[in-house]
């Protein structure tokens, strides 16, 4: 059985989401998106002229093939994120939003308090909210309670390519989740993405690892395969990791003689 990912009623056959920053050209970005097999592409509202369909970056993304997920990258508090979201929706009628509130411009770590505040407002206003969060299980539950469409915990600081540094917390988030869990930020290699998928993450979002690879298109393909492999492994069910070997001559074998 091939299970599908469903977010806010919309079905996705690809579990790989793609970010659009840091590419050397819009052509390489478009080719990488294509090669990744993704169906969801996130775009920073700060980078594009969202009201202008002729915008070079927007024009390079085929809206028939990919769901455009605007994000509020750069917002320092709930007010700024909400304002940006409203303007973007008014201009595009896109209801989907990746909510990012990152007051610290260096590590770009998400602000839990302001993210929750903004999510509350935006969910009430009918947005489909996909919040970027630290791997905080309690925050993840609170966001689900107010009605976000997913939770998107970070694997490690964004752009760091460090892999699943927050694994233990993400395991708890997945175990408790009632909405899809998308592991976002910090996945640097396809093996990291596969690991997240094997754990039971519903999807992953990749940007830097593809955009700044030597060959972004090839790396996009590699991530596509890794995400598929990881998901299939999860569905297959692991035989479990054992700490010890099964002794062929057990010490208590004499009891059964």
């Amino acid at each position: 059985m091939k299970d599908k990912l469903i977010i806010a009623g919309k079905e996705f056959s690809s579990r790989l989401f793609i970010g659009t920053g840091k590419y050397a050209s819009n052509k390489i970005m478009a080719d990488s998106i294509e090669a990744s097999g993704t169906q969801m592409v996130t775009v920073a509202l700060r980078r594009v002229d969202i009201q202008n369909p002729q915008d070079n970056m927007l024009a390079a993304i085929d809206r028939k093939k990919y769901l455009l997920l605007p994000n509020t990258s750069g917002a320092r508090n709930a007010d700024e994120a909400v304002r940006l979201a409203r303007l973007a929706r008014a201009a595009t009628e896109i209801n989907w939003l990746k909510l990012e509130v990152t007051p610290d411009p260096y590590y770009l770590l998400p602000d839990p308090v302001e993210t929750l505040k903004a999510a509350e407002i935006l969910v009430k206003e009918g947005f489909i909210v996909l919040p970027y969060i630290n791997a905080d299980p309690v925050l993840a539950k609170k966001l689900q309670d107010i009605g976000t469409a997913t939770v998107m915990p970070l694997a490690s600081p964004i752009g760091s390519n460090q892999g699943l540094k927050t694994k233990a917390a993400i395991e708890i988030i997945i175990a408790q989740a009632t909405v899809p869990v998308v592991v976002d930020a910090g996945l640097g290699m396809p093996s990291h993405a596969a690991e997240a998928m094997e754990m039971g993450a519903d999807a992953v979002l990749i940007n830097t690892a593809i955009a700044t690879a030597g060959n972004p298109v090839k790396m996009a393909e590699a991530f596509k395969k890794a995400v598929q492999a990881g998901r299939e492994a999860f569905e297959a069910g692991s035989s479990g990791v054992k700490n010890q070997a099964d002794a062929s001559s057990p010490l208590t074998g004499f009891l059964r003689d």
């Binding site: 050397a24 050209s25 509202l45 700060r46 980078r47 750069g74 940006l84 411009p105 590590y107």
Partner: protein, 349 residues
């Protein structure tokens, strides 16, 4: 600190690490330092370079800095742009594709007043997604007014962090107040500004000590005003006819400038590094591939210079007179994308 460790261990900023990277011995390792700087820059900033353009609104100035063509004793023809004239200049820049603009002025508070800047900013917001200023130091209250009007970034250079050299070069005028200038970025950060541009005028004092002071200043700002992003600029005095080499004893070579820039990148991996058209095309094109993240292009440093090409009013000689499109093309040829917009006016109410 061991030089290999200073180059290769990602330990961030420390006085010792920066000293090792700036040492004469490190010059032998400039290539591996540049390689490392490039790798960090591409990972953190991607294959992109932000482009911006300066908008000079007045070359009147009450100060008398001997290194600056705008100093009040020079017989430079003076010009001030009305709001309408400034907007016309900005329209040309918007048509060129720019969405980030830097308002520059001499210390001309009577004309380029806070209300003038606020009004200009309100108008520029219609076409620009990010507005910066490089003007005289102002108070926190004034910066609050400017921030509300849509100005989100500031650059101000200390010129020299050495107090005795500073006093020597700034004998009169409001600029004589070292501390008021030094604390400018703090006041702007308190008012909400998001990008704080630092630098010193290279050539006024010994560059090793200046670099250490610059780094300490940046480190302080980054920790205290953690929501604002620091950017570094490297304005350098160039040997020129009007520059008295007896007065400016600390001119540096291209190699030394590269060493400075690369060393800062290694210590501050996430900070913006800005390079203006003071530098020549060959230098800019190569630094774009190493550690620079933001460049001006097609700049005119005289008020009204985009509409009327009259160099006689300029603050400094432009060493790279390529058009913005030519600079974008150059970047493309180096597998870098010119980014014209990387902010949004919607961030400010």
């Amino acid at each position: 600190m061991d030089l290999q460790k200073a180059i290769y261990d990602d330990t961030g900023y420390s006085v010792e690490r920066l000293a090792a990277l700036l040492s004469p011995e490190a010059q032998k390792y400039l290539e591996p330092m540049a390689q490392k700087a490039r790798q960090i820059t591409r990972q953190r900033f991607g294959n992109t370079i932000q482009l911006y353009a300066p908008l000079y609104v007045s070359n009147f100035c009450v100060n008398s800095c001997p290194y600056c063509a705008f100093n009040r004793q020079s017989d430079l023809p003076r010009k001030r742009l009305t709001i309408e004239q400034a907007c016309k200049e900005a329209d040309i820049l918007a048509d060129d594709g720019f969405r980030h603009i830097l308002i520059v002025s001499g210390e001309d508070t009577k004309f380029v007043s806070i209300p003038y800047l606020a009004e200009l900013s309100q108008k520029l917001r219609e076409k620009f997604s990010s507005i910066s200023i490089e003007i005289y130091p102002a108070s926190t209250e004034d910066y609050e007014k400017l921030f509300t009007a849509g100005i989100d970034s500031i650059a101000i250079y200390q010129e020299t962090y050495d107090r005795s050299d500073y006093a020597k070069f700034h004998k009169t005028g409001p600029k004589a107040d070292y501390d008021w200038r030094l604390e400018t970025l703090q006041r702007a950060a308190q008012a909400g500004f998001r990008s704080l541009g630092l630098g010193f005028l290279i050539g006024l004092s010994d560059w090793h000590a200046q670099m250490q002071a610059l780094a300490q200043h940046a480190d302080y700002l980054m920790k205290k005003y953690w929501q604002a992003k620091v950017s570094f600029s490297f304005p350098r005095l160039r040997p020129a006819e009007n520059v008295d080499e007896k007065l400016f004893k600390y001119m540096i070579s291209d190699t030394q400038l590269v060493q400075m820039m690369v060393s800062l990148r290694l210590c501050f991996p996430d900070s913006e590094i800005v390079l203006s058209t003071r530098e020549k095309p060959n230098f800019r094109d190569n630094m774009a591939q190493i550690c620079v993240t933001r460049m001006s292009a097609g700049s005119r440093t005289n008020p009204g210079g985009y509409a009327q090409k009259d160099e006689s009013l300029s603050q400094f000689e432009i060493a790279d007179d390529r058009t913005p499109d030519q600079v974008a093309e150059m970047l493309k040829s180096k597998n870098l994308q010119a980014v014209w917009k990387d902010w949004d006016k919607a961030f400010i109410k």
